[in-house]
Subunit: 368 residues, 2 copies
C-alpha cells in the first residue's frame, strides 16, 4: 500500500523556498561571487526579548557561511545535499527523522558531503529553517519522539497518510486521550465546547484531572506537557489560543525547572528562538504550584538543592521573569527554601486539586 502524505500548500511553499536558496548559490557562482549563506548568530548573547510580542527572538548579529575556506565550502556543500534530499522528500510526500537524515548522508555519493555526527546535521536543518523561514515540520522532518496527549471538548479533523480522521477528544478516545501528531498543522479544529486550555506538566496530575472529570466539569482542554514540552505540544497550544481564542493556563510543579517549562510555553526557548512566533503563547498564565501556594496550603515539601537555588537566582536575572509577580514568588521561594510537586496537593485528599485548589486559583486569575 502506498501511504503518501497528501502534499499541502505549505509543503509546496517549503519546497520552493529551498530551491530558491539553492538558486541563490547558483546565481552567486554565475556572477563570479564566492557563494555564501548569512544566518543570525545562534548564541545566548544574540537572543533578544521582543517586548511587543512577549517572545524571545534572535538579535541583529549575523554570521556568514562562505565557500572561501575549505570548511565553509563543505558546509555549503552539505547544505546543498540536504536541500536536494528535502526537496525530493517533499516532492514524494515522504517524511523522515533527523536521525535518519544523518544516517542517510552515508549513502551520498560524495564523501565530503557526509555528516561527521548528528549534531552537525541537526544544526544544518535548524539553519535551513532560519534562512528559508520554513519550519522543520513543513520540511516533513519528524522529531524522534512526539508523545503528548490532549483530552477535552474538542472536535477535530486530522489529515493522516491514510486519509482524514474526525476525532472528538473525549468521545472518540480511550482513557489515554488523543495523541498529538508530530506535525499538528495537519489538524483542523472543527468544533469545541471549551472555556479554556489547561497545560499540565506531569502524567500523574493529568490522569488525576481526567479521573476527576475536570475537563467535563469545567469545559477545559487538558494538554499534557510531559515535562519540557515538545514542539508539537507547544504548537497545538498556541493554535488553540489563537484560533479558538481560548485562555491558556499552565500547571506545573513548584520548582525552578518547572517555571522554565512555563517559560517555554509562554515565551519560547533560546534553542528555538527563530520559531517563537509560531510556538510561544505569550498570553499563557501560570496557575502554580506557586511558592505562595506552598505556604498558603501548607503543602508537603522538599528542601531546595544547591542547583535549585542557582536556577532560581538565574531566573531572577532572566528577562522572561522580570515581572513583579515572578520576582515576588522567586524571592519567597528562596526565603522559605522549599519546593513542592503538583501531586503534593494529594496530602489534602485526592479531590482537593479539582474541588478547591484549581477553582480558587482560576477564579483569582479570572479564568473561571
Amino acid at each position: 500500500m502506498s501511504t503518501d502524505t497528501p502534499k499541502t500548500p505549505k509543503n509546496e511553499e517549503a519546497r520552493e523556498r529551498l530551491i530558491d536558496l539553492a538558486a541563490e548559490f547558483y546565481d552567486q557562482f554565475a556572477q563570479g561571487e564566492v557563494p555564501a549563506m548569512r544566518i543570525p548568530t545562534r548564541t545566548k548573547s544574540n537572543i533578544e526579548y521582543d517586548e511587543e510580542q512577549g517572545v524571545w527572538v534572535y538579535g541583529d548579529r549575523h554570521s556568514t557561511r562562505s565557500a572561501n575556506s575549505v570548511g565553509g565550502a563543505q558546509k555549503l556543500l552539505k547544505a546543498v545535499y540536504v536541500i536536494d534530499f528535502l526537496s525530493n522528500q517533499l516532492q514524494e510526500g515522504r517524511s523522515s527523522t533527523l536521525r535518519e537524515l544523518y544516517y542517510l548522508s552515508e549513502s551520498w555519493d560524495f564523501d565530503a558531503a557526509q555528516f561527521s555526527d548528528q549534531d552537525e546535521s541537526n544544526q544544518l536543518v535548524e539553519d535551513l529553517e532560519i534562512v528559508s523561514d520554513v519550519t522543520r515540520e513543513d520540511f516533513n522532518m519528524r522529531p524522534e519522539e512526539s508523545g503528548a496527549t490532549l483530552m477535552g471538548p474538542l472536535f477535530l479533523r486530522e489529515q493522516t497518510r491514510r486519509g482524514e480522521r474526525e476525532i472528538h477528544c473525549q468521545e472518540d478516545v480511550g482513557e489515554g486521550g488523543y495523541q498529538i501528531p508530530n506535525n499538528p498543522d495537519t489538524i483542523e479544529f472543527l468544533d469545541h465546547d471549551a472555556d479554556f486550555v489547561l497545560c499540565v506538566e506531569t502524567g500523574g496530575m493529568r490522569d488525576r484531572l481526567v479521573e476527576n472529570g475536570f475537563d467535563t466539569d469545567y469545559n477545559v482542554i487538558i494538554v499534557h506537557l510531559k515535562g519540557q514540552p515538545a514542539r508539537a505540544t507547544r504548537r497545538i497550544t498556541k493554535r488553540l489560543r489563537d484560533e479558538l481564542d481560548l485562555p491558556v493556563v499552565v500547571f506545573t510543579d513548584g520548582d525552578p525547572w518547572s517555571y522554565r517549562i512555563y517559560g517555554s510555553v509562554a515565551y519560547g526557548s533560546i534553542k528555538s528562538a527563530h520559531l517563537s512566533e509560531r510556538l510561544a503563547t505569550p498570553e499563557a498564565q501560570f496557575v502554580g504550584i506557586q511558592p505562595s501556594d506552598i505556604v498558603r496550603y501548607e503543602l508537603p515539601t522538599d528542601p531546595l538543592s544547591d542547583s535549585d537555588v542557582n536556577a532560581l537566582q538565574s531566573e531572577l536575572e532572566d528577562p522572561r521573569f522580570q515581572s513583579e509577580y515572578w520576582t515576588e514568588q522567586i524571592e519567597l521561594q528562596l526565603d522559605i527554601g522549599k519546593k513542592a510537586e503538583q501531586q503534593a496537593l494529594a496530602s489534602r485528599g485526592l479531590d482537593f486539586v479539582t474541588d478547591t485548589y484549581l477553582p480558587e486559583r482560576l477564579s483569582e486569575m479570572d479564568v473561571v
Copy 2:
C-alpha cells in the same frame, strides 16, 4: 460530573483479598500471636529462571515482617493503613498514583503510619501485590506515566470512566496511534486482521514503519515500546499473544541495553518477577538489530563503550541469554566492538527497513 470507574469483578476480588490480609493480622492478635507477614525475599539472589514457563520468578527464600520489633510493628501498621486506603479506593471506584499515596499518608491521623519517603510506599504496594497475588493495576494504582501507543488492524473496546469506547487502531486514530491506557485489562479485543505483533523500541522507527504502511502491508500490530517498556505495554503485548494467538517479535537497537529491553518483554524483569506470568511473553522472538546484521548489511556503527562491553559480558552470564543464538551474537559483538541503531538502516535508504530488512528477517524467522 461524577466519573466513577465501573467496579469490575477483579476490583471486588482485589478488595476481598486485601481485607483477608487485614483479617489475618486480626486473627493473629485474637489468638495471642505476634502479627506477621511473610513475603518472598526480593533480591537478585532469590530470582529463579522458571525453565518451564521461560520467565523469571522469585525463589523459595522468604523474609518475615513481624510486630516483635518497633520497626516491624510500624511496617505492619503502615500496611494496614494502605490496605484501608486501597479498600476504600476500590469501594468508591477511584484510582490514584503511587506518588499520591505517598503524599496522602501525610493526612493520616496517626503519625507513625506516615511514609518517610516514596521508596517506602512503593515497596509496600509491591509487597501487597505479592502477598495478595493481586496486581497494582487491580488495586487501581496508576503509574506516573503510561505513554506507549499501538497501531494496526485491531478493533477493541475500552472500558473508560466515561463509558465504553470502540476503537479501530488504524481507522479511528490519528497518525499518533492508539494510546494504551494505564490498565490495559480495561480493553476487550473485538476483532482483528493481524498476522503478528511487532514491538519497536524507538519512536523514530515506529513512525517510519507507520509512514511506510508496514502495518497495512503485512497485517501487523505495531506496539511502540518507548525504550524500556512500561507495565501496561508489556501486559497488552502478552494479551495479544495469548488471546489472539499472534506471534510477537521485538525490534530494537543493536546494543546490550536494547537486548535487555527484549529480555523484559520476553522473560520478565527482576524488579517485577512476581508479575512475570502476567507481563512476560516468553514466545517473543528477537528480530534485531543483531550483531550479525551489522556485518551483513554493513550498517553505520558506533564503537562499544566500556559500559557496553561490561553489559555484554554480564549478559553472557545471564541465564536469560544462555542460548546458543545469544552466545553467538554477543560474542560476535564483543569481537567486532561495534553497535548500531535501528535507524542506521536508513543509510541504505528510507524504505530499506520495510522493503528488505524486515521481510528478510521475518521470513528467516518463519513469521511471514
